[in-house]
């Protein structure tokens, strides 16, 4: 094995990364920004280096896999800190405008996908197409097939229990839209995935169905080769770092599952609390009707409790729509990542088996046979891609969770602030001297 993967450019370190707004963040991430957000000199260097590579003839798709330092993996590692600054970004994708379509056979929702890009891979600077969930599902499968060495972002859950959740309710559609938007943005930010052919077609094709029927025509060589790695090879020893990733993902998924259950339980308790509050407030009103001097104060308390109830309802709605889905996404994400890890194990196992077979043949060949070399390359490429993607994933995960948890804290703060305002405003009313009736 000649040389390891090339060393990544000096990292800017976790500190400055934290100071920058996450590419997926909305305006609320302004708060997350700590100090100043001008990129450090290191980053600037990385960016320009990355730019040069972007203009490679085949745009970075892993056509040439002979060297572990394939342009794609290099790109991947270099562009770790790159997507942050909007200046270098040349692809913008948005999902919005959900619409309901009623047909004889079925009813479904489509979303508008708007793409703006200066990349050469796009004929036009702007595209607007309509896609439904099925199409996203198709895209994801294709990406998994064609880029098996990379971590593909998760989609929101496919199936919903009919009758329990209304697939066409505003809340459900909006939650799904946000998740689909996030899915595409994650792909957009990925230096390799964003150049994927299928992704391009998804964003631009007028008739996606026609393209779908073409099938495997554009499968890349890596995809092809990895796809044909059969199971059945036993892994000798997993490199420490991948074992560690596997263990990490296991525990991570477990903890997220627990947090999901806790969050659901809290929402349930809050809803039950809300039910009681909605009965509690009006009783003060009823009492107020009996009284003279106390009528206004009691009515005031009733209105106050009503305001708190409304604030609580907003809190539970927000948590249901914004918090839970993101948690679930990450659980799905780690599941799919574990599958990629398994595939990597398989690739390594195949290589090891073939290598052993050669050694056993006891031929004094100075040169390692070509197919064994291919296996080695495949494995090293996979390792490099995966490592880079993991690092990227870790950083994004950190940003996402910071935003998610800060969002949760924010919503609770807002809830209490609304209640505080309501109660503070009735103190003067309660203290007021009433005119004798």
């Amino acid at each position: 094995m000649s040389g390891g993967p090339p060393k990544a450019l000096p990292s800017t370190g976790p500190h400055s990364l934290r100071d920058m707004p996450h590419p997926l963040a909305g305006s609320s991430s302004e708060e997350a920004v700590g100090g100043d957000s001008t990129p450090s000199p290191d980053l600037l260097m990385a960016r320009s280096f990355g730019d040069k590579d972007l203009i490679l003839p085949n745009g970075g798709t892993p056509a040439d896999t002979s060297s572990p330092a394939s342009s794609s993996s290099l790109l991947n590692r270099l562009q770790l800190d790159d997507d942050i600054d909007g200046e270098t970004r040349d692809l913008f994708v948005t999902v919005d405008d959900p619409k309901k379509h009623v047909c004889t056979m079925e009813t479904y929702i489509t979303y508008r996908i708007t793409t703006k890009s200066t990349r050469v891979e796009f004929d036009l600077p702007e595209y607007s197409v309509r896609r439904r969930y099925q199409d996203f599902d198709w895209l994801r499968s294709k990406l998994e097939e064609s880029q098996p060495t990379h971590l593909i972002p998760p989609l929101p859950e496919k199936f919903v229990v009919k009758g329990v959740v209304d697939r066409f309710s505003e809340e459900f559609v909006e939650t799904r839209r946000k998740a689909l938007d996030k899915f595409l943005k994650r792909i957009t930010d990925h230096p390799v995935l964003s150049f994927n052919e299928h992704f391009n077609v998804f964003l631009t094709a007028k008739d996606l169905n026609a393209y779908k029927k073409q099938g495997m025509a554009l499968l890349s060589r890596v995809g092809e080769s990895v796809k044909h790695v059969t199971g059945g090879y036993k892994l000798r020893s997993r490199p420490l770092e991948f074992a560690a990733i596997g263990e990490y993902l296991d525990t991570f998924a477990l903890k997220l599952g627990t947090i999901d259950r806790i969050a659901q339980r809290i929402i349930k308790e809050e809803i039950e609390y809300l039910v009681e509050l909605r009965e509690y407030g009006p009783v003060y009103s009823t009492w107020s009707a009996l009284e003279g001097e106390l009528a206004e104060p009691l009515e005031g308390v009733s209105a106050c409790i009503g305001n708190c109830s409304t604030a609580l309802e907003e809190l539970t709605d927000d948590m249901t729509e914004d918090f839970l889905p993101v948690l679930r996404e990450y659980i799905l994400y780690s599941d799919s990542m574990k599958n990629v890890l398994k595939k990597r194990d398989q690739v390594q196992a195949e290589y090891e088996a073939k290598l052993e077979a050669v050694a056993l043949r006891k031929e004094d060949r100075p040169k390692v046979p070509a197919d064994v070399e291919k296996c080695q390359d495949r494995m090293e490429c996979f390792n490099a891609d995966l490592k880079a993607d993991m690092e990227r994933w870790q950083n994004n995960k950190r940003q996402d969770f910071r935003q998610l948890l800060m969002g949760m804290a924010d919503r609770n703060i807002q809830y209490y602030e609304k209640c505080l305002m309501a109660w503070e405003s009735i103190i003067p009313l309660l203290q007021e001297k009433q005119e004798a009736k």
């Binding site: 976790p14 708060e31 997350a32 700590g34 990490y248 525990t251 991570f252 903890k255 627990t258 947090i259 806790i262 339980r265 809290i266 308790e269 809050e270 039950e272 609390y273 039910v275 009681e276 509050l277 009965e279 509690y280 009783v283 003060y284 009823t286 009492w287 009996l290 003279g292 001097e293 106390l294 104060p297 009691l298 308390v301 106050c304 950190r398 969770f401 910071r402 948890l405 800060m406 804290a409 924010d410 609770n412 703060i413 809830y415 209490y416 602030e417 209640c419 505080l420 109660w423 503070e424 009735i426 103190i427 309660l430 203290q431 009433q434």
Partner: protein
Amino acid sequence: MEQPPLEPERQLQPAPVEPLGCPDAELEAAVSEEGEGGLEEVSEDRTMTENNFWLKKIEISVSEAEKRTGRNAMNMQETYTAYLIETRSVEHIDGQSILTDSLWRRYSEFELLRNYLLVFYPHIVVPPLPEKRAEFVWHKLSADNMDPDFVERRRIGLENFLLRVASHPVLCRDKIFYLFLTQEGNWKETVNETGFQLKADSRLKALNATFRVKNPDKRFTELKHYSDELQSVISHLLRVRARVADRLYGVYKVHGNYGRVFSEWSAIEKEMGDGLQSAGHHMDVYASSIDDILEDEEHYADQLKEYLFYAEALRAVCRKHELMQYDLEMAAQDLASKKQQCEELATGTVRTFSLKGMTTKLFGQETPEQREARIKVLEEQINEGEQQLKCKNLEGREFVKNAWADIERFKEQKNHDLKEALISYAVMQISMCKKGIQVWTNAKECFSKM
């Protein structure tokens, strides 16, 4: 009106409208104060009596509660709680308080005192006792009478009762009340000797009067209606509030689980670990804060409960009025029929059916002498009846006047107290909100450092 000297029995009835020298509305009952009740009672009673109790300022407190075992009336062993009542007099000059009396009473003795007051002061809205058994509890609170929290809240409630009585312009002068505070032994016998149990109006009589009275004072009818509604609405309020407390408890406590899972999660994270860990700590703080919050809210519930029970006291005054009015109506009716009988006898016309008329028909007319005798008896009875009616009328009017004065006093007190209760409830809510904001702001800070 001169205040007659206090006798060992009781005050004379009816009690004077304006209590001599007792300040009225300025007196504030110290409601549910912990420890010493800060009540001052000043009497400017110029009458020199043996028991010049009220010349000095006094402070009353129910300072302790103790579990006791003893034997009850059926010689069976029982456990009960005894409460220590301490009375202090405050010297005018230097403000120092000296303990003048200290004795132990149990709940049943408080009940005895109150029942006595109800009988001898039917025109007064008599302050209620704290509940005998814990009601409107939410799940964490115990419904057990021996539970220390319940005992503590009852101690406060009993102190409040004594302070209410002591601050009432009429009730404060009662001898039995004085003895309750000062004479430990023999007090029960003394109360029973007043014969109040015999004097009490029977329930059946009262019920009958309520149904049959024709012309009660409208104000009392309205007041009765009001107290029914008040009782209903406060009960409902307390029930729902208990459920609200239950749910709120659940919400806070579940957040405690975040503490544990964040801690576990932080173990596998490098950069995120510290932020998660410290945020988890704040979640624990949040979860445990609910205990104190809800304990404070019980205080509010107790204030509402007092007025729930006051509704019953209001109803009692209304019932007494109805009884007296009915009594008056019956007496008037009786008088009217006697007068008519007399008239018939005198004029010889029999317009109404009477037994005498029947027997006359059957057995023959009575003699003029007999008739004269009967007329004379009737005239005597009519005279007596008219005197009695005058008396009853006067009594009735006095009652209405005195009762209504106390009711007005009560209304003022109620409006003031409930407003204070609502204000303190709002203050509690504000404090809870501020705590919530604090905790979540701290957690957010930790998350931002992830």
